[in-house]
């Protein structure tokens, strides 16, 4: 708490000094890097006066507690090298979502933050518009954190969900090519099981790792508004819909013994070691898990990543989901600096690539081999997920509906019953809210 207050106070102090003393136009410093973008930025410059006064101290709140003494120090130096009058301080928050919400509630928000889970309608209450950064045409998920056509958050990186697998395990089981259809997938799982390898690390007990199955459902439907459309449907969860089909694959995997021996005694940390060593073969998770498997002892060339074949049609579709979005506090004392920092993070820091994400800028290539291979899969279709509709979110929270709970329940009971129960929950919550 004391550190927090001190940071805020020193941030204010830094601001005053910067404004009065030194007003070197930072466009000079920036011009060598990206002259075109800077010009458009100053042309459309709004109240921030972007590009003219990049100075003072800002604080950036991050969820990456592990990078605070390493990578972020480099970023702070690199940013300082570009804008000598500006200084950025990184503040890593444990349990980021809850912590940042408390900070937002107390109006002691850092200058740049990662937007926590909240309805888009509230974005203007906290954040400054970012349309003047000149990134709107090149960035992925431009409309995801926007309201009334104004952009409040820029994506820090993207992910896609597929099968992350151990190539050595596949080899040992005699699987020569990655499965392209669901039947081939089951056949491969059978071979792995026969070879004494656990085919799929579902991490059923830990619950959250089951979220990959939601992504499969949305990819299957081909509809970015898949969850939002529940508002229009007669049954929020259709027992014949894509979500049910996706979960029935999970159920098959569990029923046929392609999952862990005791799904109620899985261990997430251990599973990474097991996939790395080849005792387990596959994950259905986004690409961020790849570096973690490698960290746990697998050679990078032994880890592969392919789109999940959810049916037998042979066409493959994958879902793109955004990671956290950068946003600038509208009450920031150094708004221009904060904005410049966000722009720098996205365009120059390479943080998205470093973190193993699909780069925020559409034209940038990923240097993660598995990811660039995955993205280059012939005939692969992409669905870019739409932001959550706040009405749908409200009903879901009110009814305390958790998709991962549904996925867990499917494993031990029948889909129709589970969907009935959750449709009832949805309807009651919807009625209670009068939506």
């Amino acid at each position: 708490m004391i550190v927090l207050v001190a940071a805020t106070i020193s941030a204010c102090g830094g601001n005053n000094k910067g404004n009065n003393g030194n007003s070197t136009p930072s466009s000079q410093a920036a011009s060598s890097e990206a002259p075109v973008v800077t010009e458009t930025a100053s042309a459309t410059a709004s109240e921030a006066g972007a590009g003219t006064d990049i100075s003072g101290k800002i604080v950036f709140a991050t969820n990456r507690t592990d990078l605070i003494d390493t990578k972020f120090k480099e970023y702070a130096e690199a940013f300082r090298a570009k804008y000598p009058n500006a200084e950025v301080e990184f503040e890593a928050l444990k349990d980021y979502e809850s912590a940042i919400k408390l900070r937002m509630a107390t109006a002691e928000m850092p200058d740049v933050i990662l937007i926590p889970n909240m309805p888009n309608a509230q974005l203007p209450d906290y954040f400054a518009e970012l349309d003047d950064l000149g990134l709107n045409d090149v960035i992925r998920f431009k409309d995801y954190k926007s309201l009334n056509g104004k952009v409040y958050g820029l994506v820090s990186g993207g992910s896609t969900t597929g099968i992350v697998y151990n190539k050595k395990a596949f080899e040992k089981a005699g699987i020569t090519a990655v499965p392209k259809t669901l039947d081939e997938f089951y056949a491969a799982s059978e071979k792995l099981k026969t070879a004494g390898i656990v085919p799929m690390a579902t991490n059923y007990k830990d619950k959250w790792p089951l979220y990959g199955w939601q992504h499969v459902a949305i990819a299957m439907s081909g509809n970015p508004e898949f969850w939002n459309d529940r508002l229009k449907q007669e049954k929020a969860f259709e027992p014949e819909g894509a979500w049910a089909k996706s979960l029935s694959i999970l159920k098959t995997i569990i029923d046929k013994g392609y999952a862990e021996k005791d799904i109620n005694s899985t261990n997430w940390e251990q599973s990474k070691k097991d996939v790395a060593s080849g005792r387990m073969a596959m994950y259905l998770l986004p690409n961020w898990v790849i570096p973690q498997v490698i960290e746990n002892g697998a050679a990078s060339e032994d880890v592969g990543f392919f789109p999940f074949p959810y049916d037998n049609s042979g066409t493959l579709t994958t879902l793109l989901t955004p990671d956290y979005f950068y946003a600038v506090s509208k009450n920031s004392k150094n708004l221009a600096t904060a904005k410049a920092f966000v722009k720098w993070l996205i365009e120059e820091s390479g943080h998205d690539d470093f973190s193993g994400f699909i780069p925020s800028i559409k034209t940038k290539q990923s240097t993660v081999k598995q990811l660039s291979d995955f993205l280059a899969t012939p005939g692969l279709n992409f669905v870019e997920i739409a932001p959550d509709n706040s009405d749908a979110m409200e009903i879901q929270n009110k009814g305390q509906i958790d998709f991962n709970d549904m996925a867990q329940e499917i494993a031990v009971s029948d889909i129709a019953g589970v969907f009935d129960k959750y449709n009832k929950k949805w309807d009651e919550a919807k009625k209670a809210l009068g939506k």
Binding site: K101, K205, K261, D262, I263, N264, Q270, N397, K398, D402
Partner: protein
């Protein structure tokens, strides 16, 4: 300054700091909690909409909220066993026993350990495939058991861990009380020819009444407020079989962004504790003195 004034100013100055601390960190948050329980606050937005008794109505309309309290019964049962064992150890270690200080320390040690660390440790013991307990059972020819994955077992397994952790604390409390019992009463009883069991029944137990009451109070509130063990070990699973009330509260507040409802749930828990403890006092300990 008159003697009276001195006395008063002394009392006030001694009371001031504890009272300020008490007010800031106990009564203010409690009042705030009660206020929040009448709003539909989502945990971060600046508006706190007043909704009257809505949250309470929601809770009482939903049977699920209270059915999780049944899971806490396992901890309560475990807590009783834990107290009996603690009492036995205390009596044993109060006597003349070789190396009794070593035993005391050993038995008290689990209580000092961090709850989450204890949970992790037992996670390795009760793991179905790699756990040490199942490894042992397999050696003597018993089929591996899914300790944390069987709905009827899971709460008792967790209650056992909790009893293991808190037994030492109860024991130390009993031990302290035992040592404060006047020696002459025991001596007189022995001279009159009282046997060990009679001494226990008619002198030790009545002498410890207040302390037993205290330990039971701690056990009951502890059982109602279990959170860390199921949170770390099972996430409330399998399928909510080990979810506890406090875990539901935390989920409601942070996962479903409904601080108002969660506050109302906490207020109700507070009332439940008050009711249970009053009933317990009346039933177990008679009419008091």
């Amino acid at each position: 300054m008159s003697y009276n004034l001195q006395k008063k100013s002394l009392i006030i100055s001694f009371m001031l700091i504890p009272l300020v601390l008490l007010l800031t960190f106990t009564y203010y948050p409690a009042a705030r909690l009660i206020y929040l329980s009448f709003t539909s606050w989502d945990g971060y937005s600046p508006v706190k909409q007043w909704v009257g008794w809505d949250n309470y109505r929601t809770i009482f309309a939903n049977n699920e909220t209270f059915s999780v309290l049944l899971h806490n019964m396992a901890y309560f049962a475990g807590g009783i066993v834990q107290n009996v064992v603690a009492f036995m150890f205390a009596v044993l270690l109060n006597g003349k026993l070789k190396g009794r200080n070593v035993f005391r320390t050993t038995l008290f040690l689990p209580y000092i350990m961090n709850g989450v660390a204890v949970a992790f440790m037992f996670g390795y013991v009760f793991d179905t495939n790699n756990g040490s307990l199942n490894f042992l059972l397999e050696r003597i020819g018993v089929e591996p058991v899914s300790w944390l994955g069987t709905p009827v077992l899971v709460n008792f397994v967790l209650a056992f861990i909790s009893a293991w952790k808190f037994m030492g604390f109860n024991m130390v409390v009993y031990l302290g009380a035992l040592q404060s019992l006047p020696e002459d009463v025991f001596e007189a009883a022995r001279i009159d020819g009282a046997k060990g069991r009679q001494v226990l029944r008619y002198i030790t137990l009545p002498g410890l009444r207040r302390i037993i009451e205290l330990n039971l109070f701690l056990t009951v509130t502890g059982a109602l407020e279990v959170f860390d063990l199921p949170f770390v070990l099972t996430q409330g699973g399998p399928l909510n079989a080990s979810a506890t009330y406090v875990q539901k509260v935390v989920e409601t507040a942070f996962h479903y962004s409904n601080f108002g409802l969660a506050s109302a749930m906490s207020v109700i828990l507070m009332l439940i504790v008050v009711v249970v403890v009053s009933v317990q006092r009346m039933l177990v300990l008679g009419k008091g003195d």
